[in-house]
């Protein structure tokens, strides 16, 4: 039995009229003996049971309420309900083989653009390169065009310059080389084909 016995009358006005229970210090045996005091009579037992029932029920309700409240705050409450069957027709999942889930066709539509320069219908993916060639403002077409001009104007003088250094032959061949292989090789290799002769390297002044 515990040594310290503190008799503290904690407002012993409980409904059943339990006399000032000797509330001892918080020792395990003290608690147990207090409990037994209460349980002795049937009335005490009933009251204890009722109290316990109430408390636990309140706990449960509070828990449910907080859970619902949280759901509402995170917006998941309406998610739990789901979409109603009537207004779901707009959102129904499409499962036909050729359409994606929203019902949009998967085959690419051919979107053609009209070139402002030559007024031709060009595919959208090919539009930029076409414009480059068409307007003559891209790197490659500019070089070729000015080279053609150069060979045209000073035909004998310029071509002799170009042919003297280069082992690749005539300008036409060089053009062909440029057109087909510009995608593979870098521009520096094309420039240095003249074996070091940098004069009049396709640029007009």
């Amino acid at each position: 039995m515990p040594n310290s016995n503190q008799v503290s009358s904690l407002g012993a006005t409980s409904a059943t009229g339990v006399q000032a229970t000797t509330v001892q210090n918080l020792t395990a045996a003290g608690i147990a003996s207090n409990f037994r005091e209460i349980i002795k009579d049937q009335k005490g037992l009933d009251e204890a049971a009722n109290y316990l029932y109430q408390t636990l029920l309140d706990d449960a309700v509070a828990g449910i309420f907080i859970e619902t409240h949280h759901l509402r705050k995170t917006g998941n409450l309406s998610a739990l309900d789901g979409v109603g069957e009537d207004n779901a027709s707009a959102y129904r999942i499409v499962e036909t083989p050729n359409l994606d889930i929203f019902g949009i066709s998967t085959t690419k539509k051919a979107i053609d653009c009209t070139c402002p320069n030559c007024d031709r219908l060009v595919a959208a993916a090919r539009f930029a390169p076409h414009l480059e060639k068409c307007m003559g403002m891209g790197r490659i077409s500019h070089r070729i065009a000015s080279r053609r001009l150069a060979t045209k104007e000073g035909s004998s003088a310029a071509s002799s310059y170009l042919q003297s250094g280069g082992a690749t032959g005539g300008t036409d061949d060089e053009d062909d080389v440029d057109w087909s292989s510009d995608k593979r090789k870098k521009k520096t290799t094309q420039n240095s084909r003249n074996n070091g002769s940098k004069k009049n390297n396709g640029k007009t002044f």
Partner: protein, 108 residues
């Protein structure tokens, strides 16, 4: 007050409180009480509107009162009996132990 405190202390100490709580929660879920209370909560929350539901704690007693009435009688009686039996069981066990061992009760 002291009674409730005593009960709480003891049942927590012996682990009975959580045991009883588990039984109770299971029973209530089985009988569908939990879903009903959830609906009630939902209604109350939606009714209050979204912005002004700051005094949440004030709403809980409302819901509690309604929830208490929603417990089916059979379940309530069963739970009360269960609680009573557990409490008196504890009591009987302790008493039996106390009678058997004179000074074996020092749990310090």
């Amino acid at each position: 007050m002291s009674l409730s405190k005593c009960i709480d202390q003891y049942t927590i100490l012996t682990g009975d409180r959580s045991k009883i709580k588990d039984i109770m929660v299971n029973r209530l879920i089985e009988c569908g009480w939990r879903d009903e209370v959830r609906l009630v909560c939902r209604d109350v929350l939606l009714q209050r509107g979204s912005s002004k539901s700051i005094p949440i704690e004030q709403l809980i007693p409302e819901v509690t009162a309604r929830a208490r009435t929603l417990v089916p009688d059979a379940v309530k009686k069963e739970l009360l009996m269960k609680i009573r039996s557990i409490l008196s069981q504890e009591n009987a066990e302790d008493k039996a132990d106390g009678d058997g061992d004179g000074d074996g009760e020092s749990d310090d």
